[in-house]
Each structure stands twice: as C-alpha cells, then as structure tokens.
C-alpha cells in the first residue's frame, strides 16, 4: 500500500514529538501504514521530527514491535524468554509455523498473519504466553491454538 503522508503529518500534529512521545507516535504511524514502517514513512518521520534518518532507524530497530518489513493484518508474537520457553513456548512456535505454513518472522501468503518472536511481555505467571495484535493470551495450551486463531481468520 502507498504511504499516506498526510495522515503521518496529522499524527505529528496530535503529539509534540519530544523524546517521550516518540514511541507512541511511531506506533500510530505504524498502524496507519498497515503494521509496518515503510521507507517513505521513516523519511517523513525524520523530516517532521527533525531527527536524522540513521537515528530514527536506530530507534525503530531497537524495538521488536516495530518492523521495517511488510507484515500481515494480524501479528502473532510468541514469547521466547526463559519462563515461557520452559513452559513450552518453543513448541507453540513450532505448531504455529506448521499451522500457518511460515517460518518465524514471516507472513502468510494471504498477508493475514505474521508470526514473530517477542521478548518478555510481562505475563510470566501465565506462561507460555503470546500476543495477537494487542491481545495477550496466557497459559496457551497447544489444543487451544486453533480456536484462538479462528477469532482472527
């Protein structure tokens, strides 16, 4: 999809692009661009924030929630950190890869799902955990995967 630069300018006018706001602002820009940050969007952000492009990129690449590659409509993030891994998140990841027929980090052919790993999402007590878009799923049993996915199909 082409980037709506006008929309990015609107987002900027909603925030004052100070350091503290930059994160939320970029999330809004990413949402407006369809779950990823295309080159044109980053250039516009760089211009509006008066921040050189290398620094915008350094910021974006630091956080796994941002992507500079096209992603699907829904993003599934499986926690890869210790407690979840111990409780079976690696197996969950394998099942999801098989079910969606993608590798980790890839997007399904119909651009519907992107499968990613994530660092800890703070729900260790309910490990293994995963997120789909903004929704957190804890204590995910392998059998429940399909019914969860169904909601997004």
């Amino acid at each position: 999809m082409s980037v709506n630069l006008e929309r990015i300018r609107e987002i900027f006018s909603d925030y004052s692009p100070e350091k503290g706001n930059f994160m939320v602002l970029l999330h809004d820009v990413q949402k407006a661009c369809g779950n990823w940050l295309p080159e044109e969007a980053l250039m516009e952000v760089s211009k509006l924030a008066k921040m050189p492009l290398n620094k915008v990129y350094g910021f974006v690449s630091f956080y796994t929630m941002f992507s500079t590659q096209p992603r699907g409509k829904h993003i599934i993030r499986v926690c890869k950190d210790g407690p979840c891994a111990v409780k079976g998140s690696l197996m969950l990841a394998d099942l999801l890869m098989k079910e969606l027929d993608v590798d980790m980090g890839e997007t399904t052919d119909d651009n519907h799902f992107t499968l990613e790993e994530t660092a800890c999402i703070g729900t260790c007590t309910a490990s293994p955990a995963m997120m789909i878009d903004d929704e957190v799923y804890g204590n995910v049993a392998p059998e429940s995967l399909n019914s969860i996915l169904k909601k997004y199909r």
């Binding site: 290398n54 915008v56 630091f62």
Partner: protein, 599 residues
C-alpha cells in the same frame, strides 16, 4: 583552570585536572594501557572494556577510558587480575570478529590483531564466527564496508555523528543482535555519506576501507597504448613517509617522484600547479562577486563565498544545505582542474592523443574518488581524472613494486605544467587555501604583498576549530577603487561539524564574512580519509609543519607569480574567469537532500 588531583599509577605519581580520565593519567605517567574503542579525537564510549585497570577501593575493575578522576586515586594496570580481564575481553571481541588476516587491507596495521599479539592470544577461547555473515558493501566509489570485521567499538558512529555531524551510521538492533548499521541497512552509496573517510581512518580493524583502484592503475601502466600521468597533492607527500617507517611530518616529495617514475607513471606532475590555477579562478570569482554585491547591488549574487576544493564538504552542503549551493565557489577542485587541463592543453603540448591519456591523482582523500566519478566531470571531452588514488594505496603500490622511499634518489616534477608555488603547497593544511587566496587577492587589489612577515598569514594557521581574520584594503589600485577601505572578513573551518556551525549561522542570517574556507577533514587535507592510519592531533600537526616548511622553501610563494600559470593563461585560457576557463575549470552542484538516494 580546574583543580589538580594526584593519581598514583603503578607507583608513578602524576597530577591531572579534575574530571580527566584515568586513561589520560596513565598516558601522563607513561604507562601504556591497551585501547580499542577509545580514540583521541572522539568522545568516550567505554564499550570494548580492554582498557580495564584496578583502582584501589573499588570492588570491580574499571574501564580507564571512561573513569573520571575526581579524587586522589591509586591505580594498578599490570596485576594478574587486570591482565586476565583484558585477555578475556579480547577473547570475547575475537569471538565475534570474522576475517582472514592475510586478505585484510589492515594486515600489519590492525589494532585488534596487534592487541591479540601483545596479549598472547593463542586460541579462540569461545566458539567464534567462522563463516562470513554479511555481504560486503562495495557500491560506493569511495568507502567500502566489511561488517564481518566490525567489533562494534562505535568509533565510526562517533566519528560520523559527533565529530563530522554527517549521520550515516547508528547502532541498530539490541543485545546480541547489535550491528553498526546504515539506515534501513542501505548501502553507504545510497545515503548522506560525504565520503570523507574519517571513519576509515579511525576504524581499529578492516571493517571500513576505501575503494581500491590500484589494480586498474597497474593495468593501465602496463598497457603500451596508454600514457599514464600522475598528479600528486601536497598532503600525501607530507604523510606517505609514515607508511615507510619515517616519523610523521617527514617530507619525501622528491623521493616519491622518483619512486612513482620507477613504478611506471609516464609523467609526474604537481597538483600545487592546479592549486595555483584554482587560486587564480577563485580569487577572480571572489572579486567579481564582491563587485556585483558592492557596486551593482545584485541581490542574486551570494556572499560569503565558500571554497569548493574539498569534495567531502561539497557533498555535505549538497545534502544538508541544498538551498545554499549558490554560496559555493563554482571553481572545481585542483584535482579536477588539473585533469581538464591535462587532457586538453597539456595533451597538445606533449603531442599525445587525450583519448590515450589516463590521469591518476594521488590524494589524501577518499572523497576524491567520488569526485572524479561525478558525471559532470568530463569537461575535456573525456573523464577528466580517471582514478583517485589514496596515500595508502600509493604506498601499497610502491611496496608491491619493491620501491622503498629510503632507497630512492631525489627527482623533480616533469616540466611544462610541472610545478606549483608555495601557495599551492599549503592547500594541504586547514587555512591554506585562504592564505593562498589572500596572498594573491590582496596583491591584485592593492599592488602590494600581504602585510605579514614573510607572507605567512598566521591568523589563519593552526588547528583552532574556526579561525577568523580581517584585512583592511587600503590604497587600492584605481581599477579596484570600489574596494577602498573595505574590511575583508574571512573565516576558516575544518571538519564538517565546524562548518555546520557556520552554515547554521548563514541560515539564520547572522554570518558576516566575505570569504570562507571549509575543509571536510580535521586539520584540512593532511587529515584526509586516504591518509596513513593512525591519525591523531599530534600527527596532523607534524604533517602541517612539513607542509608549511615546504612552502617557505619554494622560491615562488604566490600563485599569480607562477610563470607556468601565466603561460597557461597566455597560451590557452585567456584570462581568469574567461569563457574557456568556465568551460573547463568551473562546475555546478546538485541538490541532494538528507534522504535516500533513489536508484
């Protein structure tokens, strides 16, 4: 001056200013501490941890480059604990470093390899990268990058962002996945890189290098149909000795002439000649601009005029101040002027078909490689300069041919367009172009030499970030009556961070000068991105001294008094600023902006 504090380093007492680092105290005590991420030109990073020392009263070892002295300290640098920690940290760096030393351009001059040697690394303690993980970025005409050799010391980042304010590199990703990256993993050729090569000069390993054209030059030298002409800039001559074991600041110009002839170059010419030509054109342009502004009140003509000899600076302004390109002198750099004159006037003089001529420029500069490949640089009807060769590449070529400078006799430059004045010589140091221009312009306007002892315009010399001077024009010749009483205000900046200070003032409308010299590299060309590694403030000072000494020893010290220049104008160009001059010696610039280059 701030408070002095006593530091005891391995039993040696020294005093340092409060806030100075433990590393600088060690230097003062003459105690060598290994470093990888520290560089005397750059801000503190404290990331490599090989400069660890033991500070009495502290539980953990400390990185001496980042630890400020704020109270009396007792420091130990040679204990087993320190040695083992340094060795361990080196082992960790080596685990991430992939590269075959034999095939690396920094073989023999690699800081990592030297440390591994000094610290007796005899095996890989940790599983290490044993296959390349990255494709080399070789797209740029100037800078090439081999990330497999990168050890994440961030010297390039600090050089590019803090020292030069260019903003090509940044740390990307996090944790184990950290990389030094260009925005969106683009090629250096596709971003705001100005090709200054300062990152190359400061990289401790072979992760950054310049695009090496020496193989093509060898091919052309061996081709019997081609006539290969070398032009040598002043700065390589003041530095190439370092590659052959001479101390910094050793002048080897005439030995280098002999070595290059023996390497097979058909003619060896002096770029100082073209520097003189630049002064004639640029000086004339300055006077024309002043005339238009002062007499004709022409608002379309821009003052201050900036020099345009430094291709790094030219690209900097094209990227960051594209709306102010009219302030740049339209004069090409000496390298390009020379190329254009060699393939026209000189070709005719020596009776050689210009299509058979290859011009090679020995330059202290990585950006010169880009400059000679700019599409518009073909005023002679051919590529004006075929190859830009760095000082390092030249040294390698000579070594390859078994030509060591120590064994060489002294030889002069070739005649016809052979020699330059002392004014051309000082182009290599920051302030040099300004000094050369003022020596000529002042005399042109007043009929008298500049009012400085032995023509040395000392206010524009030295390594100060921005130098300013003013010169009152009095008792002028009658054709310059309109300049009577004008106070000519000039400024000199070296390093693009300093240039940026001036440019931001220009944008604000508070920049009050007539003429400004900018060189992209610290110290001017002598600190260029193609010069021998390492570079430090002391080394640059030594090179500057060599350049100013050579100026004093050249009989002719003003560009306009160079008889070869006078002859070139008489026989070929007409007068400075003529139609022909404009065709061959002047150029235009491109608005580039700060974003990705579109293919």
């Amino acid at each position: 001056m701030s408070e002095m504090i006593k530091v005891n380093i391995d039993g040696i007492e020294v005093e340092v200013e409060s806030g100075a680092t433990v590393l600088s105290a060690c230097e003062k005590a003459g105690v060598k501490v290994p470093v990888l991420c520290h560089h005397p030109d750059l801000n503190v990073a404290g990331v490599c941890r090989v400069c660890m020392v033991e500070i009495e009263g502290m539980g953990n070892l400390q990185a001496s480059c980042a630890y400020p002295v704020t109270q009396p300290l007792t420091v130990k640098t040679k204990t087993n604990r320190v040695r083992k920690a340094r060795r361990m940290n080196l082992d960790l760096v080596l685990a991430e470093h992939y590269g075959d030393c034999y095939t690396c351009p920094r073989n023999g001059n690699c800081e990592l390899r030297t440390l591994a040697d000094e610290y007796g690394v005899d095996k890989f303690k940790f599983p290490h990268v044993d296959k390349p993980r990255y494709a080399k970025d070789t797209k740029s005409f100037s800078i090439i990058r081999d990330q497999d050799k990168c050890i994440h010391c961030k010297r390039c980042i600090r050089t590019c962002i803090d020292m030069q304010k260019v903003n090509v590199y940044e740390t990307a990703n996090k944790g184990h996945d950290v990389e030094i990256q260009v925005a969106l993993n683009k090629s250096i050729a596709d971003v705001v890189c100005i090709n200054c090569g300062q990152c190359v000069n400061r990289c401790p390993t072979g992760a950054l290098w310049t695009q090496d054209v020496s193989d093509q030059v060898w091919e052309d030298i061996e081709n019997p149909d081609l006539f290969v002409i070398m032009q040598t800039a002043p700065s390589p001559r003041a530095a190439i000795g370092e590659e052959f074991g001479y101390p910094p600041g050793t002048r080897v110009t005439k030995k280098l002439n002999a070595a290059m002839r023996r390497a097979g170059f058909d003619k060896v010419l002096d770029t100082n000649f073209a520097a003189d030509l630049t002064i004639m054109e640029e000086g004339t342009e300055l006077l024309e601009r002043l005339h238009k502004v002062i007499v004709k009140k022409d608002k379309s003509v821009k003052i201050p005029m900036f020099t345009s000899c430094s291709p790094g600076w030219v690209k900097f302004i094209e990227h960051y101040y594209p709306d102010h390109l009219d302030h740049l002198s339209t004069c090409k750099s000496p390298q390009q002027m020379y190329g254009a004159v060699i393939k026209t006037y000189y070709a005719e003089k020596i009776g050689i078909d210009p299509s058979k001529i290859r011009t090679v420029a020995l330059m202290p500069c990585s950006a010169k490689k880009y400059e000679c490949n700019r599409p518009e640089m073909n005023a002679s009807g051919y590529r004006d300069v075929d190859y830009g060769l760095t000082t390092r590449e030249m040294a390698m070529m000579l070594k390859e041919a078994g030509l060591h400078l120590a064994d060489m006799p002294t030889e002069e430059f070739d005649p016809v367009l052979g020699e330059g004045s002392g004014a051309g010589m000082i182009f290599g140091a920051t302030g040099g172009v300004m000094e050369a221009a003022i020596r000529t312009v002042y005399e042109l306007v007043t009929g008298r030499p500049v009012p400085f002892e032995r023509l040395n315009i000392t206010p524009v010399r030295g390594m100060e970030a921005i130098k300013e001077a003013s010169l009152k024009l009095e008792k002028v010749k009658k054709e310059y009556k309109w300049l009577e009483g004008v106070e000519l205000k000039i400024a000199v900046a070296h390093g693009t961070a300093n240039a940026k200070i001036l440019m931001d003032k220009l944008v604000d409308g508070t920049l009050d000068y007539h003429f400004i010299e900018v060189m992209a590299c610290p110290g001017g060309c002598l600190g260029g991105g193609g010069q021998p590694i390492p570079t430090t403030p002391e080394i640059r000072k030594a090179r500057a001294n060599a350049i100013y000494q050579e100026d004093e020893e050249i009989e002719i010290r003003k560009s306009h008094e160079n008889p070869l220049i006078q002859k070139l104008y008489k026989e070929f160009l007409g007068k400075p600023g003529s139609h022909k001059s404009h065709e061959l010696l002047h150029t235009h610039y491109t608005k580039r902006g700060q974003y990705f280059v579109k293919d």
